[in-house]
């Protein structure tokens, strides 16, 4: 593997694993700086999925024939890998879903609708992605619970001084937060929030979609109750995600989707639910996608999550430096030591769509928009921002091209 003793990634060697990165866009080499929305795929993961389809594909947990057994073994093997990625105590607590959004909806519906009532406090943060905001807002409205918000400080970090005031409003039952903000890159103090949630008698629900690809995650050290993430942001395929939850909570919960596979016994009078994790995996699972998820976990852990985190830390520090040199750039979010590989910015007088459009001429792909964080945009007083985000295959030269592209934007818009 292309990692030295000092955790330095050999990015050039790693890039050879990603066929898509070799192409040109508008006559320029592609600089893919949008990994926060989805990561590109290494050949190893693609080959694992193809191999599975070509040699071992069948439905899982159903057939008695050899091929079905082989498929089940690969599927459950992937579950073990994903379980180890977040250091969950048991793979029975690891549920395959469609994506992180579905994982969070599962908790909001299956736990929230049963356990929330009028006057209960549902607490989210101003930094949330819509996926950990809208389900809670909706379930709070359905149950008559009170929807509350942890505000941000001026530097884009959670204002923990507000916690006492939120607790004083009574009966906090849910604290939902992301570990890393997809819009600003802020790394949030989840251990502290989980501890506070438990002091209130609340559950702590963590959206780790933006964290799991980039840093070591240990659900036991975080102390949270649920953790959601997806495969496609960590070099895996789209269409599969994961939810880890504490066994006692999962066992006490109602099911989310109903149908085949999630049952123990179905009679005319009533149906009993299957054991974990099957109770939450109705219907045919994303089987090959789960196998790809496992292969992606192998890939990123093989590269080394500490090394990935350090690489992105260096990139983000460099990017903040380079972008500050461009006239009229406004940077959002915390200082590099408390931030993951994400840089959100605006150019004075130029709309993000126009910035991203001109950068595309240079082959530089960044995101422009509200990043599914409209409450945050409202808080920042902007309609949208530009966002560049990095991964294990990102080169410092691509950040140079971003900075040079921004100078061209400046030139076009004068």
């Amino acid at each position: 593997m292309a990692v030295g003793a000092d955790l330095k990634l050999d990015v050039a060697a790693l890039r050879a694993d990603f066929p898509i990165l070799g192409q040109e866009i508008n006559g320029k080499p592609l600089a893919y700086l949008d990994s926060a929305v989805t990561a590109q795929k290494p050949r190893q993961m693609l080959e694992a999925m193809t191999r599975f389809y070509e040699t071992s594909y069948a439905n899982v947990h159903r057939g008695v024939y050899s091929l079905a057994e082989r498929a089940t073994e690969a599927f459950e093997g992937a579950r073990e890998k994903v379980t180890r990625l977040v250091n969950a105590p048991s793979s029975r607590e690891l549920i395959f879903t469609r994506n992180a959004t579905e994982s969070l909806n599962l908790v909001a519906y299956a736990w929230g609708l049963t356990n929330l009532g009028p006057g209960d406090g549902v607490v989210v943060t101003e930094l949330e992605h819509h996926s950990n905001f809208v389900p809670w807002q909706y379930v709070a409205r359905r149950t008559g619970a009170d929807f509350r918000m942890i505000p941000l400080t001026g530097s884009g970090e959670l204002d923990l001084d507000a916690l006492d005031g939120i607790a004083a409003q009574g009966d906090v039952k849910v604290v939902a937060t992301n570990l890393v903000s997809n819009a600003l890159g802020t790394v949030n103090p989840v251990e502290r929030l989980a501890e506070w949630a438990h002091e209130q008698g609340a559950i702590a629900v963590v959206d780790a979609a933006q964290a799991a690809p980039h840093r070591v995650i240990d659900v036991q050290a975080l102390g949270c109750d649920f953790l959601a993430f997806s495969a496609h942001k960590l070099c895996g395929p789209s269409g599969v995600g994961a939810l880890w939850g504490r066994r006692a909570l999962l066992e006490a919960m109602e099911p989310f989707n109903l149908g085949g596979h999630m049952i123990k016994k179905v009679q005319f009078e009533q149906t009993t639910w299957g054991d974990l994790p099957h109770k939450f995996e109705a219907g045919t699972s994303p089987i090959a996608e789960a196998v790809g998820f496992g292969a992606a976990v192998d890939y990123i852990t093989g590269v080394g999550l500490e090394a990935i985190e350090q690489h992105e830390h260096e990139l983000v520090s460099y990017a903040l430096e380079r972008l500050a040199e461009v006239p009229g750039i406004v940077l959002y979010g915390p200082s590099p030591e408390r931030r993951a590989g994400i840089v959100s910015f605006n150019m004075d007088g130029v709309h993000p769509h126009d910035v991203a459009q001109v950068l595309d001429w240079e082959g530089v792909a960044i995101r422009a928009g509200h990043h599914c964080c409209q409450p945050l945009m409202q808080r920042l007083g902007v309609a949208a921002t530009n966002r560049a985000s990095f991964y294990l295959y990102t080169l410092p030269e691509e950040i140079d091209r971003l900075a040079e592209g921004l100078l061209r934007v400046r030139k076009v818009f004068g």
Binding site: H351, H353, D354, Q357, V358, H370, M377, A383, A384, F413
Partner: protein, 143 residues
């Protein structure tokens, strides 16, 4: 590629015509493009006949394409009747904007102002909202 930001577009973006608000407008509406959060509010004043558009103004924020296209639109529709503008096609505006091969996402940017204007006229004068525009008031969350 540079057609997208050619001189005339940038000129309309930097010096928008008809930028502002008409107090006591005869017709008005506001819309948002949920894709990018761009906002446009349109105000219309009619001449004494109550049909001919005397003035159109707009306010809001958005990308160069949405702002320039709306600026061009205010010039295009002045002196026309509500009914004529109700029948104005997307292509007529896009031709005026003059950007060949615009991507579907950017076409939406260019049409935001016209969509909002059509809704404003529809509400004030009952001008038709043809099939191709029906639903646009929802899509652009027109208020």
């Amino acid at each position: 590629m540079d057609d997208l930001y050619r001189e005339v577009i940038l000129d309309h973006y930097k010096n928008p015509r008809g930028h502002g608000v008409i107090e006591d407008a005869d017709a008005s509406a506001e819309g948002v493009n949920p894709l990018c959060g761009d906002e446009v509010a349109i105000y219309v004043a009619f001449e004494e006949d109550g049909e001919t558009i005397e003035e159109v103004k707009f306010s809001g924020r958005g990308c160069a394409i949405s702002q320039a296209a709306t600026s061009m639109l205010t010039e295009m529709v002045q002196g026309r009747t509500a009914d004529e503008v109700g029948r104005l096609s997307k292509d007529e505006l896009l031709e005026e904007v003059g950007i060949p091969n615009m991507s579907p996402i950017r076409i939406k940017c260019a049409l935001l102002g016209l969509g909002v204007l059509k809704v404003a006229l529809h509400r004030a004068k009952g001008t038709p909202l043809p099939e191709e525009w029906a639903g646009l008031d929802e899509e652009f969350q027109v208020r």
